[in-house]
Amino acid sequence: MTQAHLTEERLQGAADGSLDAEQMRAVYGHLSECESCAAEVARLRTVMTRAREANTGAPSLDDLWPAIRSRIEESKVVAPKAFAGRASGASARRPWLAIGSTAVAAALLIAAFTQMQRWTPHASEAVSPSRDVAFASAVDSTRFYEDESRRLLNDLEMQKAMMGPSASASLSGDLAIIDRSIAEQKDALARDPHNIALQRLLAAAYREKVDLLRRANNAG
């Protein structure tokens, strides 16, 4: 069945195996009779094989760990919580319920800290270089969790349509508590914008929101 040479699409498809079965049969029929196309396919396969097997080399990656650990400790405003999918009982069926008390506790803690800051208005003075780094990490964490919560809220829209009224109300209530805490933290930070503790608490509040939203999304 000798015919015109294979198209580029067919040559590449034969090389990487992405053609469907019927196309593959036709292509292999051609390759068995056309040395030129067979050589082209072999040439492309060689490139792919060599690339997969290539050794990239590596510096001593153990040396990187202390820096990674340091960055984790700097930005660790709240310890990650175990995955909600391993919860059981009612909280497994309605995972966002499990975080309700945590959210309330966080809100109370944040509110208390905010009150404390009102009595100690100079707490953030004398910022050292290391505190600058820590502050930047806290700001980064806040930004990350804020972005993540926005994304998860979008994802949740579809899920909320399928929730029962009580579950939806419970979730909305928990979110409202956290949002009030976030608003209070932002107000406090507006008054004391270089206060690292406030910045960390704001990041913590956003993280609570992310955790809650993840659990709600995963519940679907």
Binding site: E8, E9, Q12, A15, D16, R43, L44, T46, V47, M48, R50, A51, R52, A54, N55, T56, G57, A58, P59, L61, D62, L64, W65, A67, I68, R69, R71, I72, E73, S75, K76, A79, P80, K81, A82, F83, G85, S141, F144, D211, R214, N218
Partner: protein, 191 residues
């Protein structure tokens, strides 16, 4: 998403290894940084290899490894075990690399979307017929867009629509870049 098909990231060799890794992940999810160090040591080499292939530079690759594992720590609570940890880490690392390009290299994303393959044409014209090159060196010669698609598709095993989603280019552009990258590499590797 398909798992990486290169095998570079597969570190859970048997059930025992997988169980140990699962235990480390669970502890890390609960906030244990020491456990996360175990995750790092098991996966750092594969993550470095991915970063090095994508950026072509040792120093930048080590920076990206750090960014990737810090990000992994932050996102670990969301890891549900639906894919292997290696697959999850690779996807996360790809995003870290692409985000760095978006934020630091103004032309980077424009170069990713290079349907006419202008940069690649220039490369092919520059290829020295007398020079022999190993594949790793040849890949660093590829324009970033072509290299990215080649690494993601032919080494990491992503489909064109997945690459399109991750990079923001059209799936057809991804396919075109891939074909041209393979052709350019074949030419660079000719004796």
């Amino acid at each position: 998403m398909k798992p990486p098909r290169s095998g570079v990231a597969v570190v859970e060799h048997d059930d025992g290894d997988a169980e140990r890794m699962d235990a480390l992940v669970r502890r890390a999810q609960a906030g244990d940084v020491d456990a996360f160090e175990g995750v790092y040591r098991a996966h750092a080499r594969a993550v470095f290899a991915l970063c090095k292939r994508m950026c072509g530079d040792d120093v930048e690759a080590t920076e990206l490894v750090q960014d990737a594992f810090v990000r992994a720590w932050e996102r670990l609570p969301g890891f549900r075990g639906q894919s292997t940890l290696a697959t999850w880490l690779h996807r996360l690392t790809v995003n870290v690399v692409l985000e760095r390009w978006r934020s630091k290299k103004r032309d980077a994303m424009r170069m990713l979307d290079d349907p006419e393959g202008i940069a690649l044409n220039a490369l092919e014209q520059r290829a020295d017929p007398d020079a022999e090159m190993d594949i790793a060196a040849a890949m660093t010669k590829l324009p970033m867009g072509a290299r990215t698609v080649f690494v993601l598709h032919d080494i990491e095993g992503y489909a064109h629509d997945e690459i399109a989603t991750m990079t923001g280019i059209a799936a057809g552009t991804s396919r075109t870049q891939l074909f041209r990258a393979r052709r350019a590499l074949a030419r660079l590797l000719e004796p």
